[in-house]
């Protein structure tokens, strides 16, 4: 009975297992090994790209729980990212020089962010009980603008229009073992802060992925998906709409705010304005889950790796002035007023096109493509 037959699904308990097959367990080990090794191997530029991808992945997992599994579309990500980032500034000692705020360890204010995000999510979730689809999108759209106004006015917390720095103080010491994520030492080699942030972010990606996976594969998750598919029917079979809709908002917002803290640490400095915390940021997160695959967790991670760090990749690896080969058309320019796209414009256009192209041609996203590839090899040589 052991061995290969363990991979078979014979009853419901088998179907629910987190890592049902040997292949899945092996790939888990490989992924964890990659997590430990990659920051050690890569240079600062790529570490910075992957650290951002990790931060985006956490936020995308949270958004996917709300939008993909519970069917509550939200444009409000930017508000929660902002909340988290300014928590990092206020409690991380960003403005301690002005006598404002605290100077806590990063793990303390990550916890504060979870609680604050959950509370705000609860408040947002209440009106969501009465609203669906179209209306919810517009309410969360309003949330982005209201939050931006609050950040600009609440100067004690955010520094107002001047913004706030977000320094990192991230050392743990357990007596026998200690690590400082600002300058981690791995196998005797000193790594930079970008690599440290990468360890931190991807560590939490693993935690968030397991947490959300566990939510969605058990009773609460089935309730959430029932709410998504038909909320009236869900209510009739005994799913409390209040509990699960608001609950999804609470958890998703808590995760998003958590990601916001790391986003703040990644940027190091944040001012509340349209370009940094506006609607576009929310849309970028939606693009990540659409491209990755709505309603899948590994899809959020795949999407974050491929396009989450797109602005950073373009900023670092595309030359400042780049003309199309052969034809010589200017594509990228860094001087205002010249012909060609600025880098910011280029990444926004790519996001927009990705959203449209994926929704039209591959609505299941990268996860759908991945599933087809798997199916092809599973049934080989009789694949169609």
């Amino acid at each position: 009975m052991a061995g290969a037959s363990r991979a078979m699904i014979r009853n419901y308990a088998d179907d629910l297992r987190l890592f049902p097959t040997a292949a899945k367990r092996v790939s888990l080990v490989v992924l964890i090994a990659l997590y430990l090794v990659i920051p050690y191997l890569i240079n600062d530029e790529w570490a910075s790209v992957l650290a951002l991808a990790g931060v985006v992945a956490i936020g995308a997992i949270g958004l996917n729980l709300l939008t993909g599994y519970t069917g509550q579309p939200s444009l409000g990500m930017a508000a929660f990212i902002g909340l988290g980032a300014f928590i990092a500034g206020y409690y991380g000692g960003g403005r301690i020089a002005d006598g404002i705020g605290y100077e806590f360890n990063v793990f303390v204010y990550l916890f504060i962010a979870l609680v604050a995000g959950g509370v705000v999510g609860f408040v947002i979730g209440l009106p969501a009980l009465r609203l669906r689809g179209n209306y919810l999108v517009i309410v969360t759209l309003g949330l982005v603008f209201v939050a931006l106004y609050v950040w600009q006015k609440w100067t004690t917390f955010t520094g107002g229009n001047e913004g706030s720095p977000m320094p990192i103080k991230a050392d743990i010491s357990l007596g026998f073992w200690s690590i400082d994520f600002l300058k981690p030492t791995v196998l005797g080699k000193d790594l930079g802060p970008k690599q440290g942030l990468m360890y931190l972010a991807w560590g939490f990606v693993i935690v968030a992925a397991l947490l959300v996976k566990n939510i969605v594969r058990t009773r609460p998750g089935r309730a959430l998906q029932a709410v998504r598919d038909r909320d009236v029917a869900a209510e009739i079979v005994g799913v409390s709409l209040f509990r699960y809709k608001v609950g999804a908002f609470v958890i998703s917002s808590a995760i998003a705010t958590f990601a916001g803290v790391l986003y703040g640490l990644y940027l190091g400095y944040l001012t509340p304005d349209q370009t940094s915390l506006g609607l576009v940021l929310s849309i970028e997160f939606l693009a990540v889950i659409v491209v990755g695959g709505i309603g899948t967790i590994y899809g959020s991670i795949l999407g974050a790796i491929l396009i989450g760090a797109l602005p950073k990749i373009i900023e670092q690896f595309v030359p400042d002035n780049w003309n199309l080969p052969v034809l010589g058309w200017p594509i990228v320019t860094n001087s205002a007023g010249a012909t060609g796209f600025t880098k910011g414009a280029l990444s926004t256009i790519i996001y927009a096109l990705l959203i449209i192209v994926f929704l039209v041609f591959e609505p299941r996203g990268l996860a759908g493509i991945w599933r087809r590839i798997q199916a092809y090899f599973k049934t080989w040589p009789f694949s169609y």
Binding site: R130, Y149, L279, T342, I355, I356, L359, P363
Partner: protein, 301 residues
């Protein structure tokens, strides 16, 4: 009282613009059941096309407006035909996301083509004012309200008395039944987008021409146009009359707040006016989720 009346004039002009944008939303929503986030983008694009024709090519104002209206109507219809038509039957959320994608495209494309133009659109009214008693009112504000009224009037005539209008209403009620009666539903869809494009151009052109407290010609017109969302929520998603009333209320409320908040509660700052539309919307949604004039949603089990 002078301040009140000049603010009222500004507010009504801005409200007329909101009403126009909101009408665009409502036309598309009634015909296709889609909330079109790209409407704000069409407003910006329309304003810049008028600028292009008038300032760069030197065409007269009204000819430029006509040119922009034709272009944006064509863009709207083309987007519907090429992209949205493939999405019929998909979840509403996916379709909204596609229009958000289109919205996202507009800002980088306009800044890439036109950068930040130094001048705005020159309207026939310029900066001249009409003086009524002590109150000086910008002529462009009056023109916006009048033009808005004409467009909306034409819109109601079209809906009420023409064959196409009846077809659009029939499609809004029941697509399949309309199809069975020989109405070309596809053409109705494309036409709705074209009409939305035309009203977006009128709104964008008047905003960029200085109506209300607008910042002139810039991509941030899109953010202003997004504030028409509260207007349609207030009026009801499927009610053209509601869009007009909602637009006017939101416009006046926004301008009044901007004008009076510095006098009474300076701590809130003038930016508070920018979020007033959203706050009004939140209150309305909690009290009457289907708006003042909208049809209550019936949820069939």
């Amino acid at each position: 009282m002078t301040k009140f009346f000049s603010l009222l004039a500004d507010g009504l002009a801005l409200g007329a613009v909101y009403a126009l944008v909101a009408l665009g939303f409502v036309v598309i929503f009634r015909a296709t059941g889609v909330i079109n986030f790209a409407q704000g983008g069409l407003v910006v694009f329309g304003a810049f096309l008028v600028y292009q024709a008038e300032q760069t090519w030197g065409l007269p104002f009204w000819v430029s407006a006509l040119f922009a209206a034709v272009c944006v109507a064509a863009i709207g219809a083309a987007f519907e035909g090429l992209v949205l038509r493939r999405m019929i039957g998909q979840p509403i959320f996916a379709i909204i996301l596609i229009t958000i994608g289109l919205f996202l495209l507009v800002e980088p494309i306009t800044t890439t083509i036109w950068h930040n133009p130094p001048g705005g659109i020159e309207t026939p009214w310029g900066l001249s004012r009409v003086t009524i008693g002590d109150v000086k009112i910008l002529q462009v504000n009056i023109a916006t309200v009048v033009l808005g009224a004409i467009v909306m009037g034409g819109f109601f005539l079209l809906f009420q008395y023409t064959k196409v209008g009846v077809g659009m209403r029939a499609t809004a009620v029941d697509q399949e039944a309309a199809l069975a009666q020989g109405i070309n539903v596809r053409r109705i869809f494309a036409l709705s987008w074209a009409i939305a494009g035309v009203v977006a151009v009128v709104a964008g052109m008047m905003l960029a021409g200085g109506a209300g407290p607008a910042p002139g010609l810039s991509v941030s017109l899109a953010v202003i146009a997004l504030r028409a969302f509260p207007a349609i929520i207030l009026g009801g998603l499927d009610s053209p009359g509601g869009a007009v009333v909602g637009g006017l209320i939101i416009g006046v409320a926004e301008v009044m707040t901007k004008g009076y908040v510095p006098d009474f509660i300076p701590a809130l700052g003038p930016e508070f006016g920018d979020i007033v539309p959203y706050l009004i919307m939140l209150v309305i949604l909690l009290v009457r989720p289907f708006g003042l004039f909208g049809t209550p949603e019936v949820r069939r089990v």
